[in-house]
Symmetry: none
Subunit: 411 residues, 2 copies
Amino acid sequence: MTAQKKKILFVVMDGLGDRGCRELDGLTPLQATPTPNLDWFVANGISGIMDVVAPGVGPGSDTAHLSLLGYDPYEVYTGRGPFEAAGIGLIGKKGDVAFRCNFSTVNEKYEITDRRAGRIKAPETTALVKQLNGIVIDGITILVKEGTEHRAALLLRGSGLDPNVTDADPHDVGPVGISKGRTKKAEFTASVVNKFVRMSYELMKEHPVNVKRRAEGLPEANILLPRGAGSFPDIMKFSEKNNMTGACVAGVGMIKGICGICGLDVIDVPKECTGGLDTDMIKKADTAMNALKKYDFVLMNVKAPDVCGHDSRAKDKCSVVARLDEMAGHLRKKIDDIVIVFTADHCTPVETGDHTGDPVPVAIYSATAAKDERTKFSESGCAGGAVGRIRGKDLLPICMSLANRSEKFGA
Amino acid sequence: MTAQKKKILFVVMDGLGDRGCRELDGLTPLQATPTPNLDWFVANGISGIMDVVAPGVGPGSDTAHLSLLGYDPYEVYTGRGPFEAAGIGLIGKKGDVAFRCNFSTVNEKYEITDRRAGRIKAPETTALVKQLNGIVIDGITILVKEGTEHRAALLLRGSGLDPNVTDADPHDVGPVGISKGRTKKAEFTASVVNKFVRMSYELMKEHPVNVKRRAEGLPEANILLPRGAGSFPDIMKFSEKNNMTGACVAGVGMIKGICGICGLDVIDVPKECTGGLDTDMIKKADTAMNALKKYDFVLMNVKAPDVCGHDSRAKDKCSVVARLDEMAGHLRKKIDDIVIVFTADHCTPVETGDHTGDPVPVAIYSATAAKDERTKFSESGCAGGAVGRIRGKDLLPICMSLANRSEKFGA
């Protein structure tokens, strides 16, 4: 007898985990907010807590999502550059070296006066990168793409590259930095970076965009400063690794980029799903449920709780929790015999305003899982359940087993 | 003061873990069946859940038992051939390449017409392998032994062998397969396999056993078809690794073989311990308790729950659980100051009919363990206990510590 394979939905509530807030009488937003629908999934499923990357390690959104997709971030994460690049749609291939960049302003003495070029944004940045994209320096092809606001990504493609170079961005105003190879082998790459920086200045300083900005008294975006070098990782495709098709439903570029690197199809979300506080969570849930008709696995990311954590707004985070619970209620009405997970990619406690390494709650619902006795979806409510304390990278295999999709090891 | 070393008994209830069954109103067989004796061990001991191989990975009986014996199956498991061979008493040594084989039937055109030779069995198979056991092909000694029904195992011994070869068994009727080396280095081994297959035909086709079967209109067992090549692993002996003597009490050949490979003594079980549903569990428990007089560690395997899982019989699994509980009651009366563990090697849910990667319950009793508050032996009952969620390979070290047998690391 072969058991029916089930589909799997991960609902990742970004930065949802928290700590006790003074404003909430020492409770976390999840503890302080009634969540009858999320609680239903806990009561009828199994729950636990999860170290998304490793105990006590505060995950980035990138490393967290790699873990949730079943990868070991310590094996596949090669630095922020490649993932930032992928996040804005610049998905490279093995051997490429990727960087994050800022559009910055330098004066006539070639000194940085504004690291963010007055937070310039598209369509101006789009026009500027056109000058640079596709040029060749010492046999290396340059690929550049604009990101949000003053951000961009840079890919170097060609032979003899090595990511072990220092930043050309000095992370401060003053003289432009010089990239250096940390090893003999990386010196060529550093020289290409330095030539690229100089060339970005030469090609952009008299660009019509900058002529206009100068006339308007705005900081010119007359240089691109790369940082965070990393090799483009050679990640085994999600579908190949897990023998199932996968897609992601997310509003945030970074999450889309990571899912794209892993080979998931990135589903377009309705314009109401903004990735911000004003996002339409119900529409996003519907998009995810629709995607599940076609795909075996869907990861859905809702960014809103993270935003409240970063901005240290406890009450707002409680409101977001209430809206997430409504969304869970909506999903509850729609799902049939699937495996569905409610969890977070990391904690963004209101108290700290940034990601922490505290474990996140996880609730796994599958009609036939051997239920435990936990009843409340929260950091403490899920602790002590049948899932125990797991690592992020083990969540997918655990769900694949419940979905009758795991392969036997041995006989 | 040196603490008294205690003896350790593992009671492995094969395939015991399960999921919610429709037939049992959504409960697992363990949840649905009163188990006062197993519960006593939970209430007076510590409990938890265990990923026998790794989270979400469905273990085979072989990889599971390697883990329970404290080995990392990802390090020592070298494929099914060597473990199947060991399971029927053909325990090889490092460098040997082992295969599983079927006695099959080929016609005068050398095409397979019955992959199982009419499910021939001993003593006919015993007589047939005598022709082949000990022959030498290109300097390689051939060792063959019959297994249950139409099954056999093959060991190649000599220099220049490599297990990286394809099966000669095409897993279907039709032309006999040709084994191929997946690497240059393995081509010699493949050629030996192919010569062995041909020779098995030449030596068996006119064997009196087959002359008689032909006369009776039965499929002849006139060829042996090897598959599942694997190197015989170089496993550190259990006694050497753990500084204690060990034995196994099991009815199933595969389990005996694995324990044998690891260097445990394999204790003969009374004929009433069949490895099937009709097994006499009390007699098996007595055999294990007797073995504990001589050995420091005993692993006892009861196969019955696995059989019910594979056959998808929920009610029968409940009856087996009740009988296992009686056995636990019997053991409770017999044990003195030992460390005793009740657990499973994997889940075989009634719903799926095969091994899954869901965690199994584990209860560890030691008179002096710091008790937790759990009270029921089941998948959910053991979750949240003092053992937490552990890996299979960590169970033995945990028990060795409770038995005052672990060595200090550091000063």
